[in-house]
């Protein structure tokens, strides 16, 4: 998180706000409720309290406008900049302006959710700048989040409590604020790993890292900032070079990516890989380019699917340890890279030869995910 340089914070905890006008995109009641809940996000974790007034000048003046609206920061039409707000100081300080060339919506994931945009802008109105944490509400780019389950991320809680301290009622936010996974965490256990046209993708919770092998550059993103349809906390992922698709699996559902685009017609059922009906969840999937076989790890067993013949191979399922001698722990993720198979178990990564399946090394999780 970061705060505005200088002492930009309110010297009082009881603040007023006024909604000066409305957008035609939603009913006035929906705007009122979105604004009220967006302020409550910050009140829940600080001593700040917000009271609405209907005339005169409030600490936080809220308005909808387009293009040049007299503050020296003109809006830019649909998309692009959605809104802006000013840090706490006299006059325009604290005010929040929303670009009415945008389509603001009350609940739908399409368009821009006014509650989410307003909650972000009110972070500025209270003294927060943009955060570099891709999971933070104060991250500069808009990401749709499920507003029914929205909980202010820990990075934002830390930032606002740095300015104003915790909620004086002593009741912390329930449920606990989500923490953005840290690739330097030695106890990091990954949900899934896959290649994607030469990049390596590491999935954890609501996030994924994309890394370019041999480069120290690693980006972290919210899954939903790229693919709103793809669920968080996935079980497994793999790239089929045969189909030039990445398959993402959660529970009994399968989604597909073609490059960075979600393929229409998905999700499909796990039965597309001819797995027995009793298989309700897979732990990891390894795509073996040397044989066009897809290995599904289900608890301590492996099912091998022959992609060309579209059937599960005879003699499977087999115990994991029979296929990968020395792999005793539960496998949570797997991928093949440059002639080696990498199986993730706990915070360790086990390297096997792709042809002889001999265990060669036990490495740390972040061997490919530089800290």
């Amino acid at each position: 998180y970061s705060t505005f340089q200088g002492d930009y914070k309110w010297k009082k905890h009881d603040l007023t706000y006024r909604i000066e006008n409305y957008t035609p995109d939603m009913s006035e009641a929906e705007v009122d409720d979105s604004i009220k809940r967006a302020l409550q996000v910050w009140a829940d974790v600080t001593p700040l309290r917000f009271t609405r007034i209907y005339s005169g000048t409030a600490d936080i003046m809220i308005s909808f406008s387009v293009r040049d609206h007299g503050d020296g920061y003109p809006f830019d039409g649909p998309n692009g900049f959605l809104a802006h707000a000013f840090p706490p100081f006299e006059g325009i300080g604290g005010d929040a302006h929303f670009d009415d060339d945008e389509k603001f919506l009350y609940r739908s994931p399409h368009g821009y959710n006014l509650f989410l945009v307003a909650a972000h802008e009110f972070g500025h109105s209270l003294g927060l700048e943009h955060s570099q944490d891709p999971g933070a509400l104060m991250y500069p780019t808009y990401v749709y989040r499920d507003i029914d389950t929205f909980v202010l991320p820990k990075d934002d809680v830390d930032g606002i409590q740095y300015l104003y301290g915790p909620n004086s009622d002593g009741t912390g936010p329930k449920p606990p604020p989500p923490v953005t996974p840290n690739k330097c965490d030695p106890k990091l256990v990954l949900d899934a790993v896959t290649m994607l046209r030469g990049e390596i993708m590491f999935f954890k919770g609501s996030f994924f890292w994309r890394s370019y092998p041999l480069s120290r550059n690693v980006e972290q993103h919210l899954i939903k900032s790229f693919w709103p349809q793809i669920p968080n906390h996935i079980d497994a992922a793999f790239e089929s070079t045969f189909e030039d698709k990445v398959f993402i699996i959660k529970g009994e559902k399968v989604w597909a990516l073609y490059g960075y685009d979600v393929v229409r017609g998905y999700p499909k059922s796990l039965s597309m890989f001819r797995l027995p009906k009793k298989v309700k969840k897979v732990d990891a999937v390894l795509y073996d380019e040397t044989s066009y076989k897809i290995l599904f790890f289900v608890n301590n067993k492996i099912y091998s699917y022959n992609e060309e013949q579209r059937r599960i191979e005879k003699g499977y399922p087999k115990p994991v340890e029979e296929v990968f001698p020395g792999m005793t722990g539960k496998v949570t993720a797997a991928f093949q890279f440059k002639g080696f198979n990498y199986l993730f178990s706990g915070s360790k990564m086990f390297e096997f030869g792709a042809y002889n399946r001999k265990l060669l090394r036990v490495l740390n999780n972040n061997y490919f995910l530089p800290c």
């Binding site: 998309n79 692009g80 972000h120 500069p140 780019t141 550059n217």
Partner: protein
């Protein structure tokens, strides 16, 4: 949804970048005719933006950087707001 919006046909990449960096990274309005100065000012702000978003810091307007510039966002500057 929030995936990068289709590139506006009538805006070239350069003007998208200049507008973005001027509004959000303090790129001085392009008054000086000195092309050399302008491009170094642009490269410096590009590096700041790439640094902020943890992209590869190249100072060049590569695809990743341009994609990010097209994403809907807040209009408050990212640095030295």
């Amino acid at each position: 949804y929030t995936s990068p919006i289709a590139p506006p046909a009538d805006k070239d990449k350069e003007s998208i970048a200049v507008n973005y960096l001027t509004q959000l990274y303090g790129l001085p309005k392009q008054t000086n005719s000195d092309a050399e100065k302008r491009s170094s000012a642009m490269s410096l702000r590009l590096k700041e933006m790439q640094q902020f978003f943890k992209l590869k810091v190249t100072g060049k307007l590569d695809e990743e950087t341009l994609d990010l510039m097209k994403k809907p966002r807040c209009g408050v500057p990212d640095v030295a707001a």
